[in-house]
């Protein structure tokens, strides 16, 4: 620690250069944070996917009859099946898109870990037009309990052709972390009863709760096989698969993120290595002087490493911080319905950033350190003396 003033003075020898380097490093680490942070979000979402739940929907589109839900419930290993649907529409202006999940009375039990209290679920059972709105959505649309909300949904018209659905906001509820843009929950009964008679008793998808997590994949396949030749063939995904973004898009986003982060690190490495090499070159006689005073080879090398490490670590910290800032601001610029995952700066992200910073510092100081070690003090000093 007592060497800190010496190292700091070395770093700030050319203040402009030091600040510019720091800013460049900071931005590369901002990118690091955004990309690796996004991977962290994916990982978190994946973690929250339960291994005992399954999504089932109609293979060829359309609605699935609730009767099938009862049949699935009778299968061994299946605990319960809830039905859910959705209304995609807008509030007043087509730009104001909203997405309302409509669930049946079994949803609270199948999705037991959601932070909605039984009392709150009961509210939308008691009032079929009731709506539970997450905090972020309530804020966005200026809603509070007791408000009335009308949603226009041209793709989900009622039996009489009316695309308007009127809801009563029952409560504002806590966020569900993997629903990054918030949610709205309604009662599917409201949707069901308003449809044409031929469409009633049907829903959009089933959420199946399995009693033994080790049997989940097996049961998923069984469901598909059972109904393959029925009038409504089903397509089933386990929740783990459904939450996997790579699976959904067919693209390995995580490795793209890593490659981008790596490109940024490469840029930083080049910049830092170059700057340090130049600085050591310019101050070669100073280092020789330190050796005459009695600083050991390793001591001098340690000073050089510290000189590289300070901007790297500082830049890493600032960069990740800036990435966190951008992540918080980003959602406001995205049109709703664009489910872009928000990067999260988890502890792992910081650790990875720190490791990369240390590695960059290490690699940057390698060549200069070698030069310093091989330095012939007498010759180095004779450049000056």
């Amino acid at each position: 620690m007592k060497f800190l003033p010496l190292v700091w003075a070395a770093v700030m020898r050319k203040p402009t250069r030091a600040i510019l380097t720091l800013l460049s490093v900071m931005l590369a680490f901002t990118l690091f944070g955004l990309t690796i942070g996004m991977n962290a979000t994916f990982a978190k979402v994946q973690e929250q996917a339960r291994d005992d739940r399954i999504f089932t929907f109609a293979r060829f589109g359309g609605l699935v009859p609730m009767a099938l839900a009862r049949q699935i419930e009778n299968m061994p290993g299946v605990e319960m099946v809830a039905g859910s649907n959705f209304i995609a529409g807008y509030i007043r202006d087509p730009k104001n898109r909203v997405f309302v999940n409509m669930g049946d009375e079994k949803i609270p039990k199948v999705m037991a870990e959601w932070p909605i209290t039984p009392a709150q679920w009961q509210m939308i059972q008691n009032d079929r037009q009731g709506l539970l709105v997450s905090g972020s959505q309530a804020e966005r649309w200026h809603l509070k309990a007791g408000d009335t909300l009308t949603i226009a949904a041209p793709t989900a018209k009622k039996a009489d052709g009316n695309p308007s659905w009127t809801f009563h906001v029952a409560a504002v509820t806590p966020e569900i972390s993997y629903m990054s843009q918030g949610y709205m929950f309604g009662n599917s009964d409201y949707m069901d009863k308003a449809r044409m008679l031929s469409d009633q008793g049907k829903t959009g998808q089933f959420r199946v709760k399995v009693s033994d997590p080790s049997k989940t994949a097996e049961i998923a396949e069984k469901i598909d096989r059972t109904f393959a030749n029925s009038p409504t063939p089903l397509e089933t995904l386990t929740e783990k698969v459904a939450f996997d973004v790579s699976s959904g898009t067919g693209m390995d986003i995580a490795s793209v993120d890593r490659e981008v982060a790596l490109a940024g690190m490469f840029m930083v490495l080049f910049l830092t290595a170059n700057g340090l090499a130049q600085a050591v070159r310019e101050r070669f006689a100073e280092f020789a002087t330190l050796k005459t005073i009695g600083f050991s080879d390793n001591g001098v090398i340690a000073l050089v490493f510290a000189e590289a490490a300070i901007p790297c670590l500082l830049g890493a910290g600032l960069g990740i911080g800036f990435a966190a800032l951008i992540s918080n601001v980003m959602p406001h610029f995205l049109p709703p319905g664009q489910g872009l995952p928000i990067p999260s700066m988890t502890v792992m992200v910081f650790i990875w950033a720190g490791l990369c910073a240390a590695l960059v510092a290490f690699a940057s100081s390698a060549l200069p350190a070698l030069r310093l070690k091989q330095m012939d003090i007498a010759t180095a000093l004779s450049g000056r003396t």
Partner: protein, 385 residues
Amino acid sequence: MLRQIWIVSVLNFKSLTSRFWQSMVIVVGLAATIGVMLSMLSLSAGMQVAYANAGDPDRAIVVSKGVEQEGSSAITRAMAPMIASAPGIAKDKAGRPLADRGLNMGIPLLRLNGSKGFTTLRGLAEAGQGVRPEIKIVAGRMFQPGKREMIVGVGAQAMYQHMQIGDKVILPDGEWPIVGSFATGDLLEGQLLGDTETMLTSLHKTNYNSVLVRLASHDSLDTLKKAINTNTALSVDVMRHSDWYKRVADQQTFALALLGYVVGTVMAIGALFGCLNTMYSAVSTRGREIATLRALGYGAFPVAVSVILEAIALAVAGALIGGLIAWALYDGKQDLFGNMVFHLSVSATQFKLGVIWAIAVALLGGIFPSIRAARRPVVEALRAT
């Protein structure tokens, strides 16, 4: 003046070799930035191209009012002939209107890596090939109307399992063999085609999803629109096919393109600081040289311009290198995103973008150092070691 700029710039470049590694910082910085940005944009750019190719401006699509996706649209059996008989539609050799009743729905498939994906099952009616002359059978044969047969796009063949001629696709009423493969040069290549009427029966559906017409002439869209909009029995939207796909393309690619630009911006700013660093350093290193030139009578402005030119040259070189790497790695590669199969695109447009960004970075990163170079008192610079 120009001559002075030229001479100073040439001198500048001659001394570049002595500042090689520092100059490389700019090249590497821009190469990384533009390389990453173009790589990321290759996705959205490729998707845009696929959509643009699919949307023929001499075609119009008719869907139910207010829908934004073909799959949510419903054109009844009664509506279809009304649409087909409207004015403004081209006729085939037999005098029949080139208006095709289409079906559009998702079908789950297994991707090559085993994960569950889905693509579009599209139905063509008798006028199908007339309206879409771009469909070319490359192997096997076209499906026969009335038969339960399908043809598969070459893109889908590359991305999904069991898509070869002879493989069977399972629909609710049984297995449909693939009898041929086709190419179109657009996003249809990722899809499966079959006979609309046969598919409707198989899927227990009654409504078509769309009617696609070939316009009599590019300008007959207005005639068509007028006729259809005045028909009160029809509640539909008529759009030029190219406009339809443009809107879908913009929606689908917005988030991806935004991501590419955000990443590019962050890295560009990082590269900018690196550039500033390098140019300040360069100006400092060349201090005596510049001062000598000025003492000899060269103006401050040519000196300043030469500094900026150096930055621009380095930055553009870096951008081109990065772009070339992105091009080599990704251009033309077939990729999959959701249900879209398309070719990644790193084209002249992207290169131009990269070069413009490089120039912008170089300008911003060169202007302050250039001012410093021009302003530094000659006497002071000559004295400096």
